[in-house]
């Protein structure tokens, strides 16, 4: 297990962050949603601790976890004096879970309700299931973290749970970050004490999962009981460590970052074709999707709305961006990083993620990577990425 210690004595609190190198992309296509279901089970008791929450709350601590397509992350914040409680809890569930039928049964139901709350009972809730399946033909980003289908979660067996644990939840697949009001000389012995005797396990070697290059435009139409038509467009972008990732990130700022962004100004304010429009990406480790999505003003034709987006992309591909725009998006990036880094919890999470990508010192280098992007890079990259053959378009029509 890799350990990173980040001292910050301006706070009375400590953060213990454990990131496992496993996400929904590591799932069997017939058993999707499992990484996330498993995250829930990590709170259903471990070998020596029947109840995870009570002792932590007794120590004045709070915790939570999230699962993405790429990683699963667990974090605890508590008064620094009580940090050993966090080591005890995290190490015990890394050592072994309790694996009870009752725990699995309850969490299957809880996750099913989560699925319903966020994806079934919501207008437009099925968009990303459909879009991912269209944009990815083979890469496991094809399915959502919550799972491809409710039945996959409902059918999960205790044997699957045990197998998943022994495959992925080993120290060799984990990164521990301890941050906040701690001293290295104090916490290292504690970490050795609690985690040192857990068998390190076998490193999970991920099979190659490159998505083949998309060669022609893909389109899909959906009709549903929603009040407004909506348009979603996605293009494949570079992976997290490529220079292109940083360029793509800045392109989303130019197009969709705030009230002075190009798409908002042109399509919501001037032409009034959309009632809202956004441009973003998912921060994926492997090749992700740069996305533009918006809801159409009632009465506007889908073709006109799409054409207007294409016009803005053509303008970007032909003329690039101005010096003023470049300064703006870099100032925004500088400030976004500064505000995010205020929180010791966010810093702990970033350190773990950068280490997972290969090197925690990327934490310091990231800013430079953004600042090295030029207007020329943006011009060149927008020509590559906004190629019609790289595009996935989902037209979502209102049946009402």
């Amino acid at each position: 297990m890799k350990v990173i210690i980040h001292e910050d004595h301006s706070t009375p609190m400590a953060v213990v962050n454990v990131m496992y190198d496993v996400g929904s992309k590591d799932e069997d296509p017939q058993k999707t949603g499992f990484a996330h279901l498993f995250e829930h089970l990590m709170f259903s008791g471990s070998q020596h601790v029947s109840d995870f929450e009570t002792p932590l709350q007794m120590a004045g601590g709070e915790n939570n976890a999230y699962t993405s397509n790429d990683v699963t992350n667990y974090y605890i914040q508590l008064p620094a004096e009580n940090i050993e409680t966090a080591f005890w809890l995290e190490s015990d569930r890394m050592l072994s879970l309790a694996f009870s039928e009752k725990g699995l049964d309850v969490q299957r139901k809880v996750v099913s309700e989560e699925f319903k709350e966020h994806y079934i009972n919501k207008p437009y809730g099925d968009v990303w299931f459909k879009m991912r399946e269209m944009a990815y033909q083979s890469h496991p980003y094809r399915w959502m973290t919550i799972g491809r289908d409710l039945s996959h979660i409902e059918n999960a067996k205790l044997d699957d749970v045990k197998h998943f644990f022994s495959k992925h939840y080993k120290p060799v697949n984990a990164i521990l970050v301890v941050a906040g009001n701690v001293k290295k000389e104090d916490v290292v012995p504690l970490i050795n004490n609690w985690f040192g005797d857990i068998p390190s396990g076998e490193k999970y070697i991920r099979p190659g999962m490159e998505e083949p290059k998309q060669l022609s435009a893909r389109r899909m139409e959906v009709k549903a009981k929603v009040p407004l038509d909506a348009l979603y467009k996605c293009w494949h972008m570079d992976n997290r460590l490529d220079h292109g990732y940083y360029v793509a990130d800045l392109i989303t700022e130019v197009l969709g970052g705030g009230g002075s962004s190009r798409l908002y100004q042109a399509l919501v304010k001037e032409k009034q074709l959309f009632s809202n429009i956004e441009c973003f990406h998912f921060g994926s480790v492997d090749k992700g999707l740069l996305t533009i999505e918006g809801k159409l003003v009632k009465g506007v034709k889908m073709e006109d709305a799409e054409k207007a987006i294409e016009d803005e992309l053509t303008r970007l591909k032909q003329d690039g961006i101005s010096e003023k725009e470049l300064t703006k998006i870099k100032n925004k990036t500088e400030s976004a990083i500064a505000f995010e880094d205020m929180s010791v919890m966010a810093r702990a999470n970033s350190l773990a993620f950068y280490e997972l990508l290969g090197d925690a010192s990327l934490f310091n280098d990231d800013r430079e990577k953004y600042f090295s992007v030029t207007a020329e890079d943006i011009l060149r990259y927008s020509k590559t990425i906004f190629d019609v053959n790289n595009s996935n378009t989902l037209c979502y029509y209102s049946e009402n």
Partner: protein, 427 residues
């Protein structure tokens, strides 16, 4: 090392919780500034609070439209130019509108502050609310509302407030499509003149504050026609009108797979002597992940992804609300369990172990919350806008540490009376 034995902890109730002091300044026009100079990074947050919430509107949707459109044009600048200015300097200018107050909030790097303050002053003193901006706002608000109305949880949130306070009360009112359509530019200009240009304003600022910041405030805001009080003739009283019917079921989405459940009662405001004690009782009941509602209904039965109870954040009168989304097939069972948990709090004293856990959790959370200048400023803002001071904060800490199981059971019997709760299910 025996893994079955938990490490020794320091009970959070033994921690000394300190609320960093807030400095008060008064600008030339009487406007008060509360400053927290406790940052370690070159970052700052400034919050302009106006008494311009929907409490003060004479026509629905005016307060929120006025607040939203503050950024959308002054005599000299278009909406685009204003947005571009703040975004060019990497700053975030947000606004929001509540029942009593409305706010403008600026987050920025210290080095850009002097470029930004003059434009905030311009927005406060010289917004023009162009007709075309209002038209776009109306159209997009209506569209957003249409989408929201498909969601059971959104519909439930509106209806339960209306049941508690009445549709004509600022806490219970909600906007319909025609309320947006009826907005005019004159409505906004009148509201703006009274509640922003000549309105009561209070500033909160936090971060690593530049030494000349207050002088800068005086220069840009101290000469404006802002006030430190609302003009006396405009004190508005609203009458509560509680719904007569206590149990309601609404059909919103025939194909829905979940129901939105809201169970709520009226409750006095923060000045009532029971308020802080009930905060502790509420935590045991449904205030956090380790609460009884969550433990029973999510972690034992798996009926829901989440269930919480909380006290509403209003100045004049609060409410006590239980809120969850549960599978349609287990909706009735969920409601029955909620009442069962209420009853148990009335009949049995909370055991000391559970109470200590709740105390420790609450103190630990406050310690975590006080970590960082912006969070501390939010605490102070809440105190000051509710006419309270640090004594209230420390009294709250003391209450968490000392309120007894017996007192909490008495409070449960006083307030967790099922007949006083409204029960709403939207499916």
């Amino acid at each position: 090392m025996n893994r079955a034995v938990p490490p020794i902890i320091k009970d959070a109730v033994d921690f000394n919780v300190v609320l960093p002091l807030c400095e008060k300044h008064v600008l030339a026009n009487g406007v008060e500034v509360y400053a927290l100079n406790i940052g370690t990074e070159e970052l700052i947050m400034i919050n302009w609070v106006f008494f311009a919430g929907n409490w003060f509107e004479n026509k629905k949707a005016v307060a929120s439209a006025c607040n939203y459109l503050l950024k959308n044009g002054t005599t000299a600048k278009t909406a685009f130019e204003i947005n571009e200015h703040f975004e060019y300097y990497g700053s975030y200018l947000n606004r929001s509108c509540y029942s009593e107050t409305s706010e403008i909030v600026l987050h920025c790097l210290n080095k850009h502050i002097n470029e930004l303050l003059p434009v905030v002053a311009e927005i406060i003193s010289d917004s023009v609310f162009r007709e075309e901006e209002l038209d776009i706002h109306i159209q997009n608000s209506q569209q957003r509302l249409k989408v929201s109305l498909q969601k059971c949880e959104f519909v439930a949130g509106r209806l339960i407030d209306a049941q508690l306070f009445g549709q004509d009360h600022p806490y219970g009112t909600y906007n319909n499509l025609e309320d947006y359509a009826a907005l005019t530019r004159e409505d906004l200009l009148d509201f703006y003149k009274e509640n922003y240009q000549h309105g009561k304003c209070v500033l909160f600022v936090a971060g690593k504050l530049p030494h000349d910041l207050i002088a800068g405030f005086d220069e840009h805001f101290g000469k404006l026609t802002l006030r430190n009080h609302r003009s006396g003739t405009h004190t508005i009283n609203h009458t509560l009108q509680r719904a007569a019917e206590k149990k309601t079921q609404v059909l919103n989405d025939p194909l829905g797979v979940q129901s939105a459940i809201r169970i709520a009662r009226n409750f006095p405001n923060r000045h009532h002597p029971d308020f802080q004690k009930v905060m502790v009782l509420n935590n045991v009941f449904g205030g956090f992940f380790g609460s009884r509602l969550m433990g029973n209904i999510r972690e034992d039965k798996g009926y829901t992804y989440g269930i919480y109870s909380y006290l509403l954040n209003h100045v004049q009168e609060s409410g006590w609300m239980i809120s969850t989304e549960a599978g349609r097939d287990v909706c009735e069972a969920t409601i029955a369990e909620i009442y069962k948990e209420m009853k148990q709090l009335c009949e049995e004293e909370i055991d000391e172990e559970e109470l200590l856990m709740t105390r420790n959790f609450m103190i630990g959370t406050i310690l975590g919350d006080l970590d960082g200048p912006f969070q501390v400023a939010a605490r102070w803002k809440n105190l000051i806008l509710n006419d309270l001071d640090e004594n209230y904060f420390y009294h709250g800490i003391q209450t968490i540490k000392t309120v007894s199981a017996k007192e909490l059971m008495e409070l449960a019997n006083k307030y967790l009376r099922t007949e006083e709760f409204y029960q709403l299910v939207v499916v």
